[in-house]
Symmetry: C2
Subunit: 363 residues, 2 copies
């Protein structure tokens, strides 16, 4: 399969790198806005060849529109005269209903199928220099195939080949359902995080920021996202996001009302429902990744302290699925959270660390 990628930034570049490294494409060609970006993409190994014009897409069985969301349709219009009649077209935009409808309309005269796509992976940084062949490993990759198209099966098969090649998991959804779900789990949280930050304005104390500990920082992390990018995403999914804002306002009103009425039972009940539902989301969201058994181990802050802990595991052939310093205490050490791949590994790791004199505990 020859694959054309229009826009070789973080997502397009990562697709190219993954396809070229793990197979799934005979050749990957890129359409880029400037020769500099083309040279960079080729140097990093994201494409076999590139061009600043879409003629290079001739002969591609799959064309991936990987530009920012607001220029996906213009990019398709420019590419249209150069598309192979056999080509399937897909995109990577984070909203789907408008794009799928309009793209299918643009492709109607020539009969190519448009299979919308949304890989649920990314990074806070953009640009091909951040591209990563592993970006999509085990990520959910939403596909929105046309409901009724003579070449639907062929189109879906090609995009699924791409999804499998980059290590993601394909999930077929109706574009409207996709947009409603991302409004709930991605777009509303972004608005809420921004509102939380803005809500500080009534506390102009010099101490506000010093007291903003882990909870505030977690809750508002995504408010750091690119405002220009998020403007387009939110406007592109306006109706669904506003619907979700309404649902959120109802939920907040129930909590605030319980608090206002000093209804402790009611408040605790709502908080308990939220805590249980949150645990369920986490468990389900891990998807292919089962929750990892974990070990907490305390380490002194010395050069090589973490290295000694990882060495005990490496020597025993135990792989680390994740590692995290739970509390950073400069000059004073901290606790490490180690995620292991099995309960047997966890128990072994715990025993080995304790035998080496560490405070270690399974959880």
């Amino acid at each position: 399969m020859r694959v054309g990628i229009v826009g070789v930034g973080l997502i397009g570049g990562s697709l190219g790198l993954a396809l070229r490294r793990f197979g799934g494409a005979d050749a990957v060609v890129g359409v880029v806005p400037t020769p500099e970006e083309g040279q960079q993409a080729q140097k990093l190994g994201a494409v076999d060849a590139w061009s600043v014009t879409p003629e290079i897409l001739a002969g591609c069985e799959l064309v991936v529109l990987a530009t920012p969301v607001e220029v996906i349709l213009p990019a398709l219009e420019r590419a249209l005269p150069h598309l192979d009649p056999e080509a399937t077209v897909t995109d990577v935009g984070s909203i789907k209903a408008t794009i799928c409808r309009e793209a299918q309309r643009l492709l109607a005269p020539t009969g190519q199928p448009f299979v919308g796509g949304h890989p649920m992976a990314g990074s806070e940084k953009g640009g091909v220099e951040e591209a990563d062949p592993y970006l999509f490993q085990h990520a959910v990759y939403v596909l929105c195939p046309p409901a009724d198209h003579p070449r639907r099966a062929e189109g879906v098969a090609r995009v699924r080949q791409l999804v499998a090649a980059v290590g993601a998991e394909a999930v077929e959804l109706d574009p409207e359902e996709h947009d409603g779900l991302v409004a709930a789990v991605s777009h509303l949280p972004h608005l809420v995080a921004a509102a939380l930050v803005l809500s500080l304005e009534n506390r102009p104390s010099p101490w506000t920021d010093r007291l903003a500990a882990g909870g505030f920082r977690d809750t508002t992390r995504i408010a750091s996202g690119n405002p220009r990018l998020w403007r387009e995403i939110l406007l592109g999914n306006r109706a669904a996001v506003l619907e979700q804002v309404a649902s959120f306002r109802r939920a907040l009103a129930r909590l605030a009302q319980a608090l206002e009425q000093t209804d402790g039972e009611g408040l605790e009940g709502l908080l308990a429902v939220a805590a249980r539902r949150r645990a369920q989301v986490t468990a389900n969201a891990r998807g292919l990744l089962a929750p990892h058994p974990e070990v907490i181990v305390r380490v002194p802050d010395q050069v090589g302290a973490i290295h000694r802990v990882t060495g005990i595991l490496a020597d025993a052939g135990i792989n680390l699925a994740d590692i995290e310093i739970l509390r950073v205490r400069e000059g004073e050490g901290g606790s490490l959270r180690l995620a292991l791949e099995s309960e047997a590994d966890r128990d072994r790791a715990c025993r080995l660390l304790e035998a080496a004199g560490y405070w270690a505990r399974s959880r």
Copy 2:
């Protein structure tokens, strides 16, 4: 200084461990609800002696009330007949105005000063078995001394001695100001996180949870907190939290209105203000810890892969301030974020990793 700790759980136990390990107290005694908890606290090294009754507090120059917030005042009432006339009393509750006022009232007849305290550190887990002598290292520790008390200076000095001994940084605030600030940076985020989880109820799709990626999980993490504990905290700071809910609603209304009116400029402007303010909070919140220079390095998923990276740094005498796996890809490797203690260390680490064949980049 002889220190008495009433309630030897996560916070009280961590204070005891730190005082006994790092000095700052000649003796630490604990008041616990059951003999089992006393034995456990002593075995872990959190106290020199314990009792299930407050007589043991006789002779303590500093008494720390470290029970759950709703039983701090009852604990003080029980302790009152046994307090040394010279004692200073403090607490570790996460709300301060009511506690400081009522505690000072209870202590008025005997003239001991009450210096409210709130160490801004914790863990999602409770109990003395989770206690950690490093818990307070570099944490902000709010003190709320009485505005006007003949023994104010003596009381503040004793509590500051505790704060310094456990490695935290004392910040003196008026109790009302403290409560307003924690309403903004801690209590409101908790309500909002719960409301975000509850707002999913209008999207009962089997795919909701699978699409809930990092943004949703970050934003709602604190909604997992103990509902019973949070009920008491929120009710205890009701007025300030409701005021903060109102500020949040105004901010969300501005964002939602810009979206509703398809006002792209306005929406982007608000998102940009939030992104800048968020960056400021993070920078200021790090407090004593300057932002660490970082290196991103890609590693394959092999037994010992992280160990090889940490070994390159350890061999060069470079200390790791933090380490994080940015994306976990079981069987496929990922990227490590390494935080170093200086820009010189960062640059050296980057060069050494690249020389060893790794993709590494400063940031």
